[in-house]
Symmetry: C2
Subunit: 198 residues, 2 copies
Amino acid sequence: MNKSRTILDISMSVDGFIAGPNRSLDRRLGEGELDRWTRQVESFRVAHAHTGAAVFGRRMFSGGEGAWQDDPNSDGWWGDDPPFRYPVFVVTHHVRVPVSRGATTFTFVTDGIESALEQAQAAAGERDVAVGGGASIARQFLNAGLVDELRLHVLPVLLGSGLRLFENHLAEAPRTLERIRTVSSPGGVIHVNYRVAG
Amino acid sequence: MNKSRTILDISMSVDGFIAGPNRSLDRRLGEGELDRWTRQVESFRVAHAHTGAAVFGRRMFSGGEGAWQDDPNSDGWWGDDPPFRYPVFVVTHHVRVPVSRGATTFTFVTDGIESALEQAQAAAGERDVAVGGGASIARQFLNAGLVDELRLHVLPVLLGSGLRLFENHLAEAPRTLERIRTVSSPGGVIHVNYRVAG
């Protein structure tokens, strides 16, 4: 039986930002038109991933800054038919019953990333657990040494400012990565997979 | 006649650092063993570049922090036979006569990056001008809109801290890049070239 892997799968600009400045509910990725590559990255993910469950940060569910605080029962910004179609575990401080939308159920976890990961692994079985972001959850997983594989979709843009993926993400010594695949899409995105050494 | 291009050609870690923490003259790239890939990147450059002259920051000539201040006549850290073999223009605040080492002459420019670029272009003719770093010069060139092509050598390591390439580098709006080549070396480095849009 294959062991489920924990995969940090995230898009970032060439200069390392996962969202541009001035994010809002209407413009979740901020300025800089990062969303112009969203469809390309999503179809690449569907074709290449082997995902059985995901862990999200709260904002990945509810959208922009502060939205949750304004409405703790927010339906999120994924609409009636989210593209995931596997269980999603949302790390949050707010207790809430699960939300089902289309073929996706969002379960809210209030006792931290390890608990969310355990629940996601139980749901995923042999399939992989995707850490979908945002940046805060991604860094927590990296810092805790919980990421087996890093899948970066590098978008061909310099944003100049915004929300960084890699910021204060490693308290420990440097870690060597093993590059296991690079795919360059015609649209200019580079999809690169690294195995994170123990 | 082809126009000379200005090329920012630089190595960085997956998390965006061009040098690790605790840099010194003996360990110019700091902790994190970035130098383990230096030879691979250098041979890739030699095989793929069309360089006629280069612009360096002061530390790219003199080595680690403060070395120049300690000895304004420092020979730098490139030894008797620097690998460049084309004219190198060093941006600095300190007036100094040129230094020749092997087949490389270092000329010191005290009136800014535009002047250094003009002199390098005159020396390069139809060949390209390489902006070799460090980070400060690289950012100045990016911010001034003087870079035609960005050549990143992405080293397979997460450093966690150090000196960032892309930090406060764009006062202006986001810039779209055109990916013109991606080469994945067996050693794990990804060499990627982007054309920087107007």
